[in-house]
Amino acid sequence: MKAGVVVFPGSNCDHDCYYALSNVVEIDTKYIWHKESRLDDFDLVVLPGGFSYGDYLRSGAIAKHSPIMDAIVDFANKGGHVLGICNGFQVLTEVGLLPGALIKNRGLKFICKYVDLIVENSRTVFTSYYNNGEIISIPIAHMDGNYYIDDKGLSELIENEQIVFRYCDSKGETNDVNNPNGSVYNIAGIINKNGNVMGLMPHPERCAEKIFGGDGFYLFESIKNFFKGV
């Protein structure tokens, strides 16, 4: 299997994603420069965290117009697998591959800390090594992680089982107190209807090794397992 990590000029988790994919779960991984307009034959494209083009405007708003994004939208529409983490998730909502939007945290501050998540859907390519209802601990680090979607959109997400991760407490309760950024329905990560594009605000690449807790490891292992033999 071959994975690609997109490098926007302001990406800063590109090295971390590369390290998790290449060194930790040992997938053949390459960087993809944002000025390129076509994709090689990747099985997985990762949009990493960071500040794509500075994000002085709305996060991901300029990334939407970068040459590589046209190719990625095309890749996704043809069934290619895309994972957006943090800024990558923001970019995926900007280009319309995922519904909803990520607005400023309700506390108006950047938040960096480990949070508990409950796995809502383990029947995806990205989460098969988790169990539904499992509680995992993964760090967040963002200013604009407050997921917004209207009621109709939310109903659709729920109906289609598109919600993958939700913020919760250590017992799995998804209450407002344990919602770090004000996200609708405590949503931390979602997947598209076709199940090939996932976005999440938490950073699994930051805890893919035992020394950091290790809960993020299984997300990358799930992907690797899906593509086993490719």
Partner: protein
């Protein structure tokens, strides 16, 4: 018509020199050096270069006493940052620097550009920054100004570091009324570089092109270095235009472009444009290499209309570098910068006549000798003396004046909620402290611990300064600050290796301030010598005074240490119940000069005890050795707030309680909250305790076995009588949420 008429530059005289910050004598020196009157542009450059901030004219003499060498030191003071070996050829490049004055005037941008400046100092040497830290000082939390400054400074550090992609892994924050109108913002950065890939600020090779790379030049920050060399008076807010504006995204591009360029063989030397911008960078490069430079200022990329040569030379616009390329490789350099959408322009060339020549549309507008201006700046041997009235402070008798108040649980709660001790979670959760996935010990630990990918070693970093001690006795305070930073590093199991320092003091033209400076640096030098931790980089910030009130003397120390095997790391929190608790070092706590005396009784008085540096050295050796043999479960350095606070802090992470007893004839408040150095609390299991006791005894280190981890309460007995028995949950809530409550 020449440019002097075009731009209507005024005539130069002593009054103008004074306005720019030069004394009459300094102006005379300049005239003598040039053998003529400088013109307006030249005078501006001289004033900036000879400002205290750039020239170290009051501190140079005293900085010379710092030890700066050891086998592992690759680069000591004098370059953009210091460098030490970490693992074979892999080196750490680091420095701490102040951005105090701008941060008071405009807290967000002041702090942000402080971070930007220190990051450039590190990557200009070829090192990729892997962590940042900061030491902050503010007035007390009971007023809106402090809250505004704290919020702005933290926001600025977060805004810059988070976007740039460097983890801000720790630091320190202290609140005291003397910083009310003069907050301190000291930014630290550390990067990794291979020994043969280090770049220096060289301008060598006659005819080699000088290239300007990075952001365009604007009018921001003109005369910032001069501003940082004066006291604040009324109307400091009007200096807001002197503060630079940061663009962390641009800095990130500059980092990537520079590091990509440095992989190639196109660069002779490189220097970032920091204080005094193009002036100091061009002079430093020429003077260090004994060459000269010729610059065509009209070729400098500018972002504002009608900028003139004076403004271009003195602008402190951010995210810019000056580099000397090999002749013929200009286009290759431009290609790399174009990839990252950055400007790279040839603006001049290296010459060999020892002069910095500036031209504007082919007209020579300034001609200054490079080495003389950079190296022969005026140096002062300022008078210093301990003020007579200081004896009132050191002669203060705590025991006669302050009765033991009892009610220890309530006092512990007040100590834990004191923002100087309380958790800094509100601050560090705004910093991305995990990006790059190396941060093993998160903020809140004694030291930050970073793994190194591809190596079994790890780097430990701690920033400390005991300004209370420095105020009462600057010599002891200087020592204690170094010792504390070394202990914080050593309790993780890492060997302290070298320091960077940032010396924040008041007006050096005053004898008492200079006395603080001289004695504090004496103490630091002695401690660094005994602990074998040389000074490899640093910066001095004087004139931290507003309306003639100086800040507490604040020599910030950042200690960098190396842990040989990351598997041997020792955390700062209790790991399990049933362990033994050892108190390592001479347990002889004193109330004088303590945080307890300051915060609970409102006094910053009494004489402080001297520190036994040899004992400190033995304790450090012991901690490192015991960690390498995996004998210690957790360890924590005892400092502000004394034993009771240190023990509580160890309980909080995993809600593991303690029951300890100390038999000692001493006031109970002094036992609980008094301070002494060196003192370490170590958690040890039954299997290891015999070995540890043997080791400590043979090293001549005193220790006490004071109890066990147990249950979920903090239970402390004095002479077998219970004096504190508190549920951890309650104490923890106070500790964790105090600053969040105060800032509301």
């Amino acid at each position: 018509m020449g440019i002097f008429e075009d731009f209507q530059y005024p005539d130069v005289d002593k009054n103008l020199a004074r306005e720019m910050g030069l004394t009459e004598d300094e102006y005379d020196v300049a005239v003598k050096l040039l053998n003529r009157k400088p013109n307006y542009i030249e005078l501006g450059i001289i004033a900036a270069m000879w400002s205290e901030h750039c020239s170290y004219k009051s501190s140079k003499k005293h900085l010379a006493k710092f030890p700066t060498e050891a086998d592992w030191v690759v680069q000591g003071p004098g370059e953009n940052a210091g460098i030490i070996e970490i693992d074979g050829d892999l080196c750490a490049c680091f420095k701490v620097e102040s951005h105090n004055h701008p941060s008071y005037i405009e807290p967000y941008q002041g702090a942000a550009t402080g971070v930007g400046g220190i990051l450039r100092d590190v990557f200009t040497m070829g090192a990729r920054p892997v962590c940042a830290m900061n030491a902050l000082r503010f007035g007390t939390m009971d007023n809106d100004e402090t809250k505004y400054l704290l919020d702005g400074v933290v926001g600025g550090i977060a805004g810059y570091g988070n976007c740039f992609g460097v983890p801000t892994v720790g630091g320190e924050v202290y609140f005291h009324e003397s910083y009310q109108k003069n907050p301190l913002v000291n930014a630290f950065a550390l990067g990794l570089v291979e020994k043969d890939k280090i770049f220096y600020a060289k301008a060598e090779g006659h005819g080699n092109p000088i290239m300007y790379v990075g952001a365009k030049t604007g009018r921001d920050g003109i005369h910032g270095a001069t501003m940082a060399s004066e006291e604040f008076g009324e109307g400091s807010e009007s200096k807001r235009p002197n503060v630079q504006i940061g663009d962390p995204f641009k800095e990130k591009l500059l980092l990537e472009a520079c590091l990509e360029l440095m992989q190639k063989d196109y660069v002779v030397g490189i220097q970032d444009m920091g204080a005094a911008g193009l002036s100091s960078s061009s002079f430093e490069m020429a003077s260090k290499s004994g060459t000269g430079v010729l610059l065509d200022l009209d070729k400098v990329p500018v972002r504002e209309q009608n900028m003139n040569p004076y403004e271009i030379m003195l602008s402190e616009s951010q995210e810019r570098m000056l580099l000397v390329a090999k002749k013929g490789f200009e286009d290759k350099v431009k290609e790399i910068f174009a990839k990252w959408d950055l400007d790279a322009e040839v603006i001049g060339e290296v010459t060999n006549d020892g002069y910095v020549r500036l031209r504007w549309k082919n007209e020579e507008v300034a001609l200054l000798p490079a080495r003389e201006l950079a190296d022969d700046a005026p140096v002062y041997d300022r008078q210093y003396a301990e003020p007579k009235e200081h004896k009132e402070i050191t002669n203060y008798n705590v025991y006669e004046n302050i009765p033991d108040p009892g009610n220890y649980a309530a006092i512990l709660a007040r100590m834990l909620s004191n923002p100087n001790i309380a958790s800094k979670r509100w601050i560090y959760s705004q910093y991305d402290h995990m990006v790059q996935t190396n941060t093993i010990f998160l903020p809140g630990s004694d030291a930050a611990l970073l793994r190194i990918k591809g190596s079994s070693k790890a780097i430990a970093v701690s920033s400390d300064c005991n300004s209370r001690y420095c105020y009462i006795n600057p010599y002891v305070g200087g020592k204690v600050s170094v010792v504390e930073s070394a202990l914080n590093v050593a309790v993780t199991g890492a060997r302290p290796r070298a320091i960077s320092n940032c010396l924040n003091f008041g007006n050096p033209e005053k004898e008492n301030i200079m006395w603080q400076f001289v004695r504090a640096t004496d103490g630091m030098s002695d401690a660094c010598r005994v602990l074998n931790t040389p000074v490899v980089s640093g910066n001095v910030s004087f004139y931290n005074e507003t309306r003639s009130i100086g800040v507490l003397p604040t020599p910030t120390i950042v200690m960098v240490g190396v842990l040989d095997d990351i598997e041997n790391r020792v955390p700062s929190f209790f790991t399990k119940r049933g362990s033994n608790i050892l108190l390592i070092g001479d347990f002889n706590p004193k109330i004088e000069g303590s945080e307890y005396l300051y915060k609970i009784h409102g006094k910053l008085k009494g004489d402080v005890q001297d520190v036994d540096l040899e004992l400190c050295s033995s304790v450090i050796d012991a901690m490192v050795e015991m960690a390498s043999e995996k004998l210690i479960l957790s360890a924590h350095d005892v400092s502000d707030g004394g034993l009771a606070v240190a023990v509580s802090e160890m309980c909080f992470k995993d809600n593991i309680g303690v029951q300890i007893n100390i038999d000692k004839q001493i006031r109970t408040d002094e036992l609980l909250f008094g301070e002494c150095f060196p003192l370490v609390i170590a958690e040890v299991d039954d299997f290891s305790i015999g070995k540890i006791e043997e080791k400590l005894s043979s090293a001549g280190i005193n220790y006490l076995n004071i109890g066990k981890t147990k249950g979920d309460a903090i239970t402390i007995l004095h002479n077998s009588k219970v004096i504190i028995d508190e549920k951890i949950a309650l104490a923890k809530e106070v500790y964790m949420e105090s600053i969040e409550e105060l800032i509301k």
